[in-house]
């Protein structure tokens, strides 16, 4: 066993720059996923049959096929079908955002369902219309049920984001692979990447716990 981290010290800043790329990628994907996921969840619980059917079909397709396949499709098929030269970042955000929207919509749907139906009735009895009822009464309560699962989804997203390295986004993963290929030594740079991912996930976990604590003020 001949481990030698010192020879990688000059490469560390290069790998670290990947953090920004990964973070930017993950946060844009998370926002896309959350917004679209919320809309899909509202479709699912709503009374308009066609909308809930669309949302269910959407979820079924995006959960039923591999993420890497969706990624490659967006990246390679978009230029072929539309002539638009999609960047690796755009294709990545699109596929990750759309994919996590499917999962997030299920999380939110379950969270809304878990709110006591008495809350809907109390709001209805007070003459509160559907939109403010959802926004001010139901969703804030659902958020408490949703948050742990949502945090989990964001953590998964952060880790899985490493897959975008296959279409050439210069994230943490890709950079460590480039360094490895340069020196024909794989263990150390991959270990460095692993430590970085782990720290990112820990920070996310802590942030999630803090938000959860804030939200349980009324308990």
């Amino acid at each position: 066993m001949n481990l030698d981290f010192t020879q990688f010290v000059p490469n560390i800043p290069y790998i670290l720059q990947g953090i920004l790329v990964t973070l930017k990628f993950v946060s844009v994907s998370a926002i896309v996923g959350f917004v679209l996921g919320t809309i899909l969840a509202l479709f699912k619980i709503g009374r308009v049959k066609i909308l809930s059917w669309i949302a269910d079909a959407y979820t079924s397709v995006f959960r039923g096929t591999p993420l890497i396949l969706q990624l490659l499709l967006f990246y390679h098929a978009t230029p072929q079908l539309t002539g638009y030269d999609i960047s690796a970042f755009e294709a990545g955000v699109l596929s990750f955002g759309l994919n996590s929207a499917a999962y997030i919509s299920e999380i939110i749907r379950a969270g809304i369902r878990a709110v006591d139906t008495g809350q809907n009735e109390a709001a209805a009895a007070l003459g509160i219309p559907y939109r403010p009822m959802m926004k001010d009464i139901i969703l804030p309560q659902a958020m408490k049920n949703i948050l742990p699962a949502l945090m989990n989804e964001f953590i998964t997203l952060t880790k899985e984001s490493a897959i975008v390295s296959v279409i050439g986004v210069f994230d943490i993963m890709r950079r460590s692979q480039i360094v490895a290929a340069e020196k024909f030594k794989y263990f150390e740079p991959l270990l460095i990447a692993g430590v970085i991912y782990y720290l990112l996930v820990m920070i996310l976990t802590l942030a999630g716990k803090m938000v959860e604590r804030r939200m349980s003020r009324s308990d």
Binding site: G118, G127, Q141
Partner: protein
Amino acid sequence: MIKIENLQKNFGQNEVLSGITTEINKGEVVAIVGPSGSGKSTLLRCMNQLEELTSGTIWIDDQQLNDSKTNVMELRQKIGMVFQHFHLFPHKTVLENLIYAPMKVKGEGKEEAESKAHQLLDQVGLSMKADEYPKRLSGGQKQRVAIARALAMEPEYMLFDEPTSALDPEMVKEVLDVMKLLGTTGMTMVIVTHEMAFAREAADRVLFLDEGKLVEENSPSEFFNEPKTERAKAFLDKVL
């Protein structure tokens, strides 16, 4: 006036209410009593369309409640409701529970809504709990807040769906006292209850339901002393 004509309500194949016809006049306190499963709560919930009628009509003053042209949301502002399980908004403080609907639905200003809320909390004896969250309240306190929340909309009618059934025995009285007081102010109240003593004392009229039918309508004194129907007699023998 709430006017119910030939009301029928089915849940699937199951006929829960049939041929209910009655009127509830302004200022009246009406108690609905009867065995479990007789359709009392369903009848009450039809009065603000938390349940849709299968057939028949309900009029609230001059507006037909179950008419597609009627704005039910608007009509519900006139009809306060208190539930067995309170259904306070758990993520809002007591004060926020009281001011939310008046501000959002009736467009009241914050100051106006808050001063009215404090007055109502005072009325139900809970002014010191304004900034608490519902979790911190006892069952009786929650129900009194729920009454105040309904009153904050300044309704003309109040519906009570077994308001004391989920309470520990020692908290029943504090809620009934608030309701009695409300009855004396001229509020029109319809109360589904198992509290016979309360029905006898506070109601102007008793509706007795059994198996989805309005079996007897009577004054409390007659209903409890010499009921007209055998079924009411049998029921009272069991509960009194």
